[in-house]
């Protein structure tokens, strides 16, 4: 047997220290037919960690829709793949790197970006865009946030932003979108979810399946060090305690330059035709890559650790197998052609070493200097790990009365100052201070960078000819506050908003990826939130035609027993068949008409009478950004969702964009109609069509209270601007799609922003004053001493 006399003898207690339960340990003994040695225990512990095995989420994830006529590769590979026409496919996926980003914000974020980029180019796709969905604790002191916490949250944000920029900028991929939100619950558990998108030829997609007995297994890229050991099992699969800061050595260190070389070398090696399979070494490093490749291919694998390039001397098999050193890949080459692969890596100055071979019989054998260090059946390890039906329990219902809800201002009140406050809140204010630290234009594909359109839009150059025809749009969304109040409805809103954003850019939503950030799965309430979320996602993705093609689950987002809001982040991908038809949010011309498109149709008499009850408005309004920013109230319910209405609106927007019938489009979401209108004005200054921003004059007649009309966040709505000559055409299209189109007002050059409600002026301000607040507030908050 493999166990060396000097090695630690494995006991159930040592297994427990590895996070392996007694039942799991018994299962290991059963699979091996003996006790594991320490290296084998290490391998089982990482492969069966929550992070790698999805043992608590698996039974629920099955309920997600994953098929569609454009889906080429669903969940289970390194990334999802969809057909985008002309023989091309898009590979995309979102992944979390939350705990490392709290322990060491800069490196945590860099390696998060590095990991997702590798997932994309492992498939043979060249990355063309990155988006980041970030959640932090509050960055300004308030009654919920003491100054010390706010300062720490600012430091975390700064480190994360620098880290994302440092990696993507050097690697040479534009970071063009995502969102940033702030809630007290993320104070000791920030969320860093990175999404990457890549393009490949359909017939050149690579999978991570070992094939061909006797084919050589090649290790390429950075050398293996002692960094990141147990990153997946200890950092990502356990909640945080006071001692967590000591886990800094478990965080990996990123080297974007190495990754850039690895990208170019891998893509070039794939072109030789000598590469059979390839898998990146991410979480659980060499362990995961060897075991999963063998398991997926139904083969065995044999490697010799003595041949693995090492950064440090005296590393044990346990350390080599569990290291999470970054920028490494494992590939299988065609027997006899390995020299072609090795030559490419040599050209790029990278280590590439044959470390083993594909074997018959399904056993993964890890040798070290002629001795067997581990011997494990690959398939049972990778696929027959524990699966848990964790207990689920809904929390006791919140008893809420009108007293807990937002109280609307009296009719006719001037709300200008409140709009200013809302525009200054970090959630709503311009994110320019952050996004300018990212390279947004490298690769010259960016048609709509951060804030230009509701979705990030990149054009697709044919990899061979450079000819441009189509473009892809991407948006990430997820409102944790809403999911906390109602996880099922909140999850549906996340899908709806991401898809709506994509449609507002003119693109047809085709597929989705998800990053599910939750508390401890060992708590029945967290599992209830998870289960509800899955049902909400399934329903919304089915209704909106965006199957889930991949993603990741991040549990244990808890610190000192306090969980984050359940936060599913959804990335929706859309396609524009004509890259010249991108819609942006900016108003374009004086005199254009401002229209509200509402997929739910005009309020019917029945709906109106139901809605005339002010308490109903108040209940939904209490979950809004305005309620939180102005009154400090987070309560009630997320707005009711109508997926059919969302679908009608999205189809209508895509049709209008395709016809070139509207000048701009911007959906109504955080901050409501007033913020949507203001942002379309602000953006006009950057559009290069006017030296100063265009203004707007709008008149509203809704029966609901003014604050509800201006700042309410009901879905299925968007604001478009239309040149008067095209009005009839737009109204006709809207009618065809059964979408209500209401004329609200006009774009002006007078430099003022004015809204009337039922005849009285509720908002009136010089546009530049509002714009200054919106543009500079985040920077002012972040650079405050």
């Amino acid at each position: 047997m493999a166990t060396a006399s000097t090695e630690i003898r494995v006991t159930p207690e040592i297994a427990a220290e590895h996070g392996v339960t007694r039942e799991e340990y018994a299962r290991i003994q059963q699979i091996l037919g003996r006790d594991p040695n320490i290296t084998e225990l290490g391998i089982f512990s990482v492969m069966w960690s929550e992070h790698c095995s999805y043992k608590s989420s698996k039974v629920h994830l099955k309920r997600l829709p994953t098929r569609g006529k454009l889906v080429v590769q669903g969940p289970g590979e390194n990334a999802g793949v969809v057909d985008i026409g002309d023989g091309l496919v898009a590979a995309f996926k979102i992944e979390s790197h939350n705990h490392p980003s709290y322990v060491e914000p800069f490196q945590g974020a860099t390696t998060g970006v590095g990991g997702i980029l590798r997932d994309i180019f492992t498939m043979g796709a060249r990355p063309i865009a990155v988006l980041d969905s970030l959640r932090f604790g509050e960055i300004t002191p308030s009654k919920n946030t003491i100054a010390e916490d706010a300062a720490r949250n600012r430091r975390i944000l700064d480190g994360v932003v620098r880290g994302i920029g440092s990696y993507g900028n050097c690697f040479g991929v534009p970071t063009i979108g995502g969102e940033v939100a702030f809630e007290p619950c993320y104070s000791q558990n920030p969320l860093v979810n990175a999404l990457a998108l890549g393009i490949a030829k359909k017939e050149e997609i690579f999978l991570a399946k070992a094939k061909g007995i006797g084919n050589p297994v090649i290790y390429v890229g950075a050398k293996t060090g002692r960094d990141g050991i147990h990153g997946a099992s200890l950092l990502a699969s356990a909640e945080f305690t006071e001692e967590s800061k000591q886990k800094r050595p478990n965080v990996q260190v990123g080297d974007p330059f190495m990754e850039k070389l690895l990208l170019e070398a891998c893509l070039e090696a794939m072109q030789t035709g000598a590469v059979v399979a390839i898998q990146d070494m991410g979480a659980a490093g060499l362990t995961c890559s060897t075991m999963e490749m063998a398991s997926r291919g139904g083969t065995g694998i044999e490697i010799d650790l003595a041949k693995v390039p090492q950064r440090e001397t005296g590393m044990t098999p346990y350390e080599i197998m569990l290291s999470e050193s970054q920028e490494r890949m494992l590939l299988v080459a065609e027997n006899g052609l390995e020299h072609e692969v090795l030559a490419v890596f040599k050209k790029w100055g990278l280590d590439a070493v044959v470390v083993g071979q594909v074997t018959e019989g399904g056993i993964a054998r890890i040798n070290n200097n002629g001795r067997v260090a581990a011997e494990i059946p690959a398939h049972p390890l990778a696929e027959e790990g524990p699966v848990y039906h964790r207990p689920i329990a809904a929390p006791s219902p919140r008893i809420q009365t009108e007293k807990d809800w937002f109280a609307f201002a009296p009719e006719g009140a001037n709300l200008t100052a409140n709009l200013g406050k809302l525009l200054a809140s970090p959630a709503i204010a311009s994110k320019r201070w952050i996004t300018e630290q990212y390279d947004t234009s490298v690769r010259t594909n960016t048609l709509a960078g951060p804030g230009a359109s509701d979705a990030a839009v990149v054009r697709i150059k044919d990899p061979k000819t450079g000819v441009v025809k189509r473009a892809l749009a991407l948006s990430t969304d997820g409102n944790g506050r809403w999911c906390q109040l109602n996880p099922r409805v909140g999850a549906m809103h996340a899908v709806a908003e991401a898809a709506r954003n994509v449609a507002c850019s003119g693109a047809h939503p085709i597929a989705a990826t998800n990053c599910l950030n939750f508390g401890s799965p060992e708590k029945p309430e967290a599992m209830w939130q998870f289960s509800e979320t899955i049902d909400g996602l399934a329903e919304a993705c089915t209704a909106l035609g965006t199957p889930i093609t991949g993603g990741n689950v991040s549990f244990y987002n808890e610190t000192l027993g306090k969980s984050i809001y359940p936060t599913p982040v959804i990335g929706v991908l859309g396609i524009l068949n004509d890259a010249s038809r991108v819609l942006k949010i900016a108003f374009r011309d004086e005199g254009d008409l401002i229209l509200l498109l509402d997929g739910a149709g005009d309020p019917t008499p029945a709906r109106r009478s139901e809605r005339s009850e002010e308490s109903l408005f108040a209940r939904e309004f209490s979950s809004s950004e305005y309620s939180k920013a102005i009154a400090g109230i987070v309560a009630g319910e997320p707005p009711a969702i109508d997926l059919a209405a969302e679908k009608r609106l999205q189809d209508c927007l895509v049709a209008l964009a395709t016809e070139g019938a509207v000048e701009s489009a911007h959906d109504i979401s955080d901050g409501g109609l007033a913020v949507t209108l203001a942002e379309s004005c602000f953006a006009s200054a950057g559009a290069g069509l006017a030296s100063s921003a265009l203004g707007a004059i709008v008149s509203l007649e809704d029966a609901a209270p003014a604050e509800s009309v201006l700042f309410g966040e009901n879905g299925a709505r968007a604001v478009v601007s239309v040149s008067p000559a095209k009005l009839a055409r737009v109204l006709e299209s809207a009618r065809q799609y059964n979408v209500a189109a209401r004329e609200l007002g006009k774009v002006t050059r007078e430099g003022s922003f004015r809204i009337e409600h039922k005849g009285s002026t509720v908002i009136d301000s010089p546009l530049e004053i509002l714009r200054d607040v919106w543009v500079h507030s985040l920077e002012r908050a972040l650079t405050a001493k």
Binding site: N169, G172, D255, F257, Q437, Y438, S441, V442, T444
Partner: protein
């Protein structure tokens, strides 16, 4: 006429320069590998942006020792046209082909945004198709674009009209408001005394189509094409 785009390990704007010349201007262009000392008979060489060798030591400090740089130096010394963009500019400074050096941006952060630069001189092969004082809207994307040099070099640069691009406000004022990174005299690009080697921090190759937000960068590549056509006619 043939352009060459050098590929250093870590170059990441090589494809963009290649695309601007090959696809947008439709002129012959090829990549030159950093380990090659053969410039493949190119008539103009572009050192592209990126993070050559990771730029871990100092921007461009390692790349200048690449084998290809020996040939680039020889090519430049014999009058060959060399343009360095962003990291390429940094490499040319490190190689001593252009005066001055790059420091960290004054704000100590990476900045990516569209800026405005004014064409100061039109008697160079990089600006001959532009109007004097023409304002170009072009993106920057760098951490180390804070150009600096000693007083005597600076007065030489100004005296010899070697400052060819200066950052300005959108309406053309070269004041502090138009200066994104703290660079001395708002310098965005310079050329050597012989005017055949130039470098600039902004990325003209990212501003070659209006769909990308600006096509103002094209004038720089058009100038190079015209200079090459003129040179070919002169030798014919």
């Amino acid at each position: 006429m043939k352009f060459g785009v050098v590929v250093f390990p870590g170059s990441n704007c090589d494809h963009d320069a290649f695309y601007a010349i090959g696809n947008v201007l439709q002129k012959p262009v090829e990549f030159i590998w950093h380990q090659s000392e053969d410039l493949a008979n190119c008539d103009a060489v572009i050192l592209p942006g990126g993070f050559s060798y990771g730029d871990y030591l100092r921007t461009g400090a390692i790349a200048r020792f690449s084998p290809v740089m020996k040939s680039v130096e020889k090519f430049a010394k014999t009058g060959g046209m060399v343009l360095g963009i962003c990291n390429g500019f940094q490499i040319l400074c490190e190689a001593g082909l252009l005066p001055g050096a790059m420091m960290r941006n004054s704000g100590l952060r990476f900045i990516c945004r569209h800026v405005h630069i004014r064409v100061e001189q039109t008697d160079t092969p990089f600006t001959n198709a532009a109007q004097k004082c023409q304002i170009l809207k072009i993106p920057i994307a760098h951490s180390d674009g804070n150009y600096n040099c000693d007083e005597s070099t600076l007065s030489e640069l100004e005296k010899n009209s070697q400052v060819i691009f200066r950052y300005t406000t959108p309406d053309g004022k070269d004041d502090a408001a138009g200066n994104p990174n703290g660079t001395v005299h708002n310098i965005a690009g310079v050329c050597n005394r012989e005017r055949n080697v130039a470098g600039l921090m902004p990325h003209p190759e990212r501003a070659v189509e209006s769909a990308l937000g600006s096509a103002d960068g094209l004038v720089i590549f058009r100038s190079m094409v015209e200079a090459l056509v003129g040179a070919a006619k002169a030798t014919a």
